[in-house]
């Protein structure tokens, strides 16, 4: 238990640092910005208390907001993503439910499940983030383009990070 908390604390710090120090400076094509920190909300264990997920999402969003001086943008999007996570997990639940002690990762759940899970949540997060940022629908299509392209970059990064922990021989 304590080990888990420590692991997730380190993941939290690493993801915030990566986001703030490196990724916020990467702006591919002018305004495409990958948001890798959402990985933290993705990989929280299945049995985590739902309210705790909301709180942790709030915390990581707030931290990112403080460091990029965009008060509220990331907080609201991260909380929204944590909210949707509960229902998405229920929606794509495999037959027989989730095994105890597994986490929603590439290693435990396999490629197609993880892909569905990550794509839905990342796109939801980015949609929320970019539309609150523009705060109007007059530039609907240009904002939508940003959502799609940024989501693709975030997803590529998420898969790269997941592959670091992937051990094909250890599969159940």
């Amino acid at each position: 238990m304590i080990r888990d908390i420590l692991t997730y604390l380190i993941v939290f710090i690493l993801l915030v640092l990566t986001q703030v120090v490196i990724l916020n400076n990467i702006e591919l094509g002018g305004y495409i910005n990958p948001y890798l920190y959402v990985l933290f909300i993705l990989v929280l264990p299945f049995e985590t208390n739902d309210n705790l997920v909301l709180f942790l999402a709030f915390l990581i969003g707030l931290t990112i907001d403080i460091f990029s001086s965009t008060m509220g943008f990331h907080t609201s999007a991260a909380v929204f993503m944590a909210f949707s996570r509960k229902y998405i997990l229920k929606l794509i639940q495999p037959r027989g439910g989730y095994e105890f002690g597994t986490t929603p990762s590439l290693q435990h759940m396999g490629l197609s499940w993880f892909m569905t899970y990550a794509v839905i949540l990342v796109v939801l997060h980015h949609l929320f983030l970019f539309y609150t940022e523009s705060f109007n629908f007059s530039q609907f299509f240009s904002t939508f383009g940003r959502v799609i392209v940024s989501s693709i970059f975030t997803l590529i990064l998420i898969f790269i990070v997941q592959l670091f922990n992937y051990n094909p021989n250890a599969r159940k």
Partner: protein
Amino acid sequence: MRNLLRFLTKNSFIFLFLILEIFAFWMLIANNNYQNSKFLNSSNFFVGNFFSSIHNVKDYLNLKEVNKELAEQNAKLQSNNISSFVKVYGRIYQINDTSYHQTYMYSAAKVVNNSTNKRQNYITIDKGDLNGIEAEMGVISAQGIVGIVKNVSKNFASVMSVLHDKNKISAKIKKSGYYGSLVWEGNNYREAQLIDVPNHVKLVKGDTVVTTGYSSIFPENILIGTVKEFELPEGNNFYNITVEFAVDFKKLSHVYVVRSLQKKEKDELEAKSEQEIKE
């Protein structure tokens, strides 16, 4: 009462979501009104220091380019220096007489945080209240204008970049002197729109766009950029002009904060005239 409590605990997930989301939006809205954004923005002491130390590393990587820029600017200043002019009155040579008087003062600052990818971009610089920086001062770099100081803390100042959809800067075509407003629409950090230039002005691609100095925030004739494209929509009296910025906002490192010595006097005079009209 017990039913109410049971209802609350049963739906605690949704209520918590709503509370956190409302809090986030409250922050968002309180912050959008940027006069109130002193709350936890990046002029915040801790975060500012954090970015300063990161920037120290980044600075080394840019040293070569910065040196080149500084040398260029030194040369330019040297040629504009008052001691390199000699005023001629008949046969008497006069240097540094009282017919010159200073209207603007510059102080150098370093950019410690910057963004270009949002619709409202802010820049944090490492000079603040202690260095005499005040709100509403202009910020320029060796290449051209950068933004306007919005908030000041003890050691840092937060600058509203030209890349901000609420920032409107009065600009003119250098060649003809006609002026309009420069606005940024939030798409491309290299380009902005110049509006309100009347249709009888002759324009050529590559015309220089400079500041007017009307607001006393920026001195006159500070470079903004060049005309990249222009078009005259049918039945419209004003051009749509696309201006390419001279400053590359992604490479911003050393900037100058402009203090206008006459702004207060000018603003007071203008306010007085306006008040008289109202009366």
